[in-house]
């Protein structure tokens, strides 16, 4: 079934849903930028940029609350059904994931500040860049799939999380080996490790967003590995 959210008899309802969606995507844009800047602050030991990420984080929290309120109002006023209901539900869920991505970006920014104070870590930056690029692409593609109601793109993006998890595990092993060889670096390498962990979590949130694209378009809840719900349709 094609997705149209601009054909309600009530024009106001069209506008409500459209603005809900665009507010969410705007929040998505902000969060994606946060991830990029957090990683940049870490790689370049730029504490000023890291401070900026922490400031914007508060704005993102507010965006989540605004979206929730907006969605609640739509439910109260319109009692949405079918695809409209799925749209509202998916926005609420995605907003929560985006807010958590924002939290992870803030954690990375905090690590960046710690590293500028303690001195840069001897290892791990290549891995951070590599995984950061992968999860930023996932996040972008997930939001893009949502904009275009593109289930195939969402499923392709969702599948990329497995590679991210593998890369994360292999980076983890490498960091552990390094810390065993050079215990003096443990504290600094741990900061890199936490950042890697945050990036891996961002990949999971991007995956969750992809699942909401499938829910919105197909009405199938494939969370927690229930891909069979999509095949049932």
């Amino acid at each position: 079934m094609e997705m149209h959210f601009d054909q309600h008899i009530s024009r106001q309802f069209n506008e409500d849903l459209e603005s809900l969606k665009s507010e969410m995507l705007e929040m998505g844009g902000m969060v994606t930028r946060q991830v990029a800047e957090a990683v940049e602050s870490l790689a370049n030991a730029d504490s000023e940029l890291a401070e900026k990420v922490l400031r914007v984080e508060k704005e993102i929290d507010k965006r989540e609350m605004d979206l929730d309120e907006h969605a609640t109002l739509i439910i109260a006023k319109r009692q949405p059904a079918a695809s409209d209901l799925r749209m509202v539900m998916s926005v609420i869920r995605i907003a929560r994931d985006l807010e958590r991505v924002g939290d992870e970006a803030a954690k990375i920014a905090k690590m960046a500040i710690a590293l500028t104070e303690e001195g840069t870590a001897p290892r791990g930056y290549t891995e951070i860049r590599h995984i950061a690029n992968a999860v930023r692409k996932m996040l972008n593609d997930a939001l893009d799939a949502y904009t275009r109601f593109d289930v195939k793109a969402a499923l392709d993006t969702l599948a990329e999380d497995e590679q991210v998890d593998m890369d994360y595990r292999s980076a983890l092993r490498e960091m552990i080996t390094f810390m065993m060889e050079d215990p003096r670096s443990i504290s600094r390498v741990m900061n890199v490790l936490w950042s890697l962990r945050s990036l891996e979590r961002i990949g999971d949130h991007a995956k969750n967003i992809c699942e909401q694209v499938v829910y919105l378009v197909e009405g199938a809840d494939i969370r927690h590995g229930h891909e069979e719900n999509l095949r049932k349709l």
């Binding site: 054909q7 309600h8 309802f13 059904a81 409209d84 209901l85």
Partner: protein
């Protein structure tokens, strides 16, 4: 529109409330209807129903089952034929001279339109509640006792008293009216009058209750009471309800049937219809889009 033939091969089983909906083996072509219009162990079975008002066809080849202890909601825009279809079930359309009903309609496997069928006992088995509460201009007691009396279900006062009290209790009205049973039914509030009409309908121990927009003239509190009652009544009766309130259909029914221009477009579990309808016309209607 999709055309599907329900047979052992492609009728997907679905759990709808207490109604068993295993694979239905039939060769009947359920033209154009998507979803699950048929069910196993149906209380009411309607097959290939066509209804005409003179030359105009109001219902086109509709097939639908209603299971035991199931509430089926019929929704659709005005003039889509849902009320016409509902009224076929207890032959209310017989009262309209130009109306002609074709197809197989059965209640417990017995034809509703058989030549030997007497509509009076049929309507006792298949009761009806209308849009506007229409109590008789009699006392509350008489309103409920009237049916059992004329159908010869009870004649002695003690029996009648019991039926009246039971029916009013089931309709959730007893506590409000027990001290004024001799007062006119028309003196009650709208919601109370509608519950009185439900008590009147169930006083003759029907098997099926048809409801034609039973809450459209009631306020939200009276509506909530009736909806609560429908859920309670489902334990003992089979219920078909026509409603313009989509939320009401979503709340009270186990399956929902969407009618459009005299065609039965989709029948599915209510949950599916309101979260992920299969047909785009259903989607357009329940979400308030241009269909």
């Amino acid at each position: 529109m999709n055309t599907m033939i329900l047979d052992a091969g492609n009728a997907a089983p679905a759990a709808t409330g207490q109604v068993e909906q295993d694979t239905v083996e039939t060769n009947i072509k359920v033209s154009e209807t998507v979803g699950q219009p048929l069910c196993k162990d149906a209380k009411l079975s309607m097959r290939n129903v066509n209804v005409f008002y003179g030359e105009t066809q109001a219902i086109h080849d509709v097939s639908l089952d209603i299971g035991r202890n199931e509430v089926v909601a019929m929704i659709g825009p005005s003039g889509c034929g849902k009320s016409t279809f509902l009224r076929c079930i207890n032959r209310m359309n017989d009262t309209i001279e130009s109306c002609r009903v074709e197809g197989d309609l059965t209640l417990d496997g017995e034809p509703i339109y058989g030549p030997k069928v007497d509509v009076v006992p049929l309507r006792a088995r298949v009761g009806m509640v209308f849009q506007k509460p229409n109590p008789f201009p009699k006392t509350i007691y008489e309103n409920v006792a009237y049916g059992p009396k004329i159908h010869g279900i009870a004649s002695r006062r003690a029996e009648l008293d019991e039926i009246v009290e039971n029916s009013l209790r089931r309709a959730g009205l007893w506590d409000e009216v027990k001290d004024r049973l001799d007062k006119p039914g028309t003196g009650l509030s709208g919601g109370q009058q509608q519950r009185l009409c439900i008590a009147r309908a169930i006083a003759v121990s029907p098997e099926v209750i048809l409801m034609d927009e039973p809450c459209s003239a009631l306020d939200p509190i009276a509506t909530a009471r009736i909806e609560e009652l429908i859920d309670e009544l489902r334990k003992n009766y089979t219920i078909a309800i026509v409603t313009h309130s989509m939320q009401q259909a979503a709340r009270v029914s186990q399956r929902t049937a969407y009618f459009h221009l005299g065609h039965l477009v989709e029948v599915n579990d209510t949950e599916t219809v309101f979260t992920n309808p299969q047909h785009e016309l259903t989607e357009a209607y329940i979400t308030g889009r241009f269909g």
